[in-house]
């Protein structure tokens, strides 16, 4: 494969530069999504009637195609990274909110009662009991969100080369260098699998009380 790692200079980044850019464009939105999803999910747990409408809204937003979403945002944020990252953050909500709600709801009432009996206030009870017990479910959601986000960033190429590793696809076409497309697909897939594995590791570290052969998801 000659020229496999030979990145054309018009992309303004080397191979590892593109990987860094790709990870930033894919994972910052998931992080933002998590920061939004945590309070939203807590509200849904607190007020049960809220869950159905919130779930409906996130599902509808998820139905907006990424390319259409990018294009509609160009009017406001231009052909920039932000335009790629906003839809990705919105998409992550459809996975993260239900994951957190399910996780927090799955905490047994006896555990909550024990926490209250030990004198924990609502805030400490949430941070020290509910959230840690919900970690496996939350991480399962994060895995799906992060991997699909990494895969979606490539489409950003269509709006003024904002697709990080996806930009290689355009160059593969205009310079007639198919190896670049292979490089883009393989690197993106490997990144996705590595990030997924990293999240599994995070879960193992955060939940030392769980059996080693963990839950399937």
């Amino acid at each position: 494969m000659n020229g496999f790692f030979d990145i054309p200079s018009d992309l303004q980044y080397g191979y590892f530069g593109l990987i860094g850019l790709h990870l930033r464009e894919a994972l910052l939105p998931v992080l933002a999504g998590l920061l939004v999803a945590l309070p939203v999910a807590q509200l849904c747990v607190r007020f049960r009637w809220l869950y159905a409408p919130v779930f409906g809204v996130t599902t509808v937003l998820y139905a907006v195609p990424s390319l259409a979403f990018f294009v509609l945002l160009i009017d406001y944020t231009g052909m920039t990274e932000t335009t790629v990252m906003i839809p990705l953050a919105v998409y992550s909500l459809v996975v993260l909110v239900p994951a957190i709600v399910d996780g927090v709801r799955s905490v047994p009432p006896e555990t909550l009662a024990a926490a209250t009996a030990m004198g924990l206030g609502p805030v400490r009870r949430y941070l020290q009991v509910q959230l840690p017990i919900a970690v496996p479910t939350i991480i399962a959601g994060l895995r799906v969100a992060a991997v699909s986000s990494i895969s979606l960033v490539s489409i950003g190429m269509l709006i003024g080369n904002q697709g990080a590793l996806g930009n290689l696809l355009n160059d593969a076409q205009i310079y007639h260098r198919p190896p670049l497309a292979v490089n883009s697909v393989l690197t993106t897939a490997v990144l996705g699998i590595l990030v997924d594995a990293a999240l599994v590791l995070v879960r193992t570290l955060l939940t030392p009380w769980m059996p080693r052969k963990g839950a399937v998801r």
């Binding site: 907006v64 390319l67 990494i150 269509l158 497309a181 883009s184 897939a189």
Partner: protein, 222 residues
């Protein structure tokens, strides 16, 4: 002019309503690609998910396959397949099917596996053969979750079929890709609106199907 003005201008132009590049043709093409991709993915994902779920084994293997398939960038795969196979339906179908299989596979596995064991044991105790247990006991109970997986897959495919236009294919993506190239923002917004509409219609179809197909007893307990 804002997005709504552009959309209005696009739909008001009668030239957009007929011919090869007309809205009915493009909607039809988009619908066909999506249906075909989801159909193939269901043919692969449903049987495998149902059988593994019934036996309750192979969950870890399925999860790894699903992760690997999710990690494949759909758009990159499309361009790659196009450079390898040239123009045709195959380079469009491979990435779309790869996109649709993981949610179908994982949810149908989870759905069948998480069916309450007592009814299944009762059916087995009454002498039902395994195939009938799967289809008459487990499947009706698992149906809501399975439809959820199919819905996710269908929405993803409808949204993503837009990128088929990048490799000279039809469908609603034509408006977006051509509009971007021609700096015809009206067309871009019109195309985007149509895709959103189609995705929402897909949601509606699945909602009605689940109203009709899911047995009332299961719906009440779920």
């Amino acid at each position: 002019m804002n997005v709504f003005d552009f959309a209005h201008a696009f739909f008001a132009d009668t030239a957009h309503w007929h011919g090869q590049d007309g809205i009915p043709t493009r909607v039809g093409e988009h619908f066909l690609y999506s249906l075909e991709a989801v159909g193939i993915a269901a043919l692969i994902g449903l049987p495998v998910g149902l059988v593994t779920g019934h036996h309750g084994r192979g969950g870890n293997a399925l999860a790894s396959i699903a992760t690997a398939a999710r990690a494949l960038p759909t758009f990159g795969l499309l361009v790659l397949m196009f450079t390898w196979f040239g123009f045709g339906l195959l380079p469009v179908m491979i990435p779309l099917v790869a996109l649709a299989v993981p949610p179908i596979l994982v949810t149908s596995y989870e759905a069948v596996r998480s069916v309450d064991p007592p009814p299944v044991d009762a059916a087995r105790g009454m002498g039902m053969p395994e195939a009938r247990i799967l289809f008459q006991v487990e499947l009706p109970v698992a149906l809501p979750l399975m439809l959820g997986g199919l819905r996710t897959a269908a929405i993803q495919v409808v949204s993503t079929a837009t990128i088929a236009a990048y490799v000279s294919f039809g469908g609603l993506g034509r408006y977006i890709i051509d509009g971007l190239a021609q700096k015809d923002y009206e067309k871009v917004v019109g195309g985007a609106t149509l895709v959103v509409g189609m995705a929402l219609a897909t949601l509606g179809v699945f909602w009605s199907v689940s109203r009709v197909a899911v047995s009332p007893g299961v719906r009440r307990s779920g």
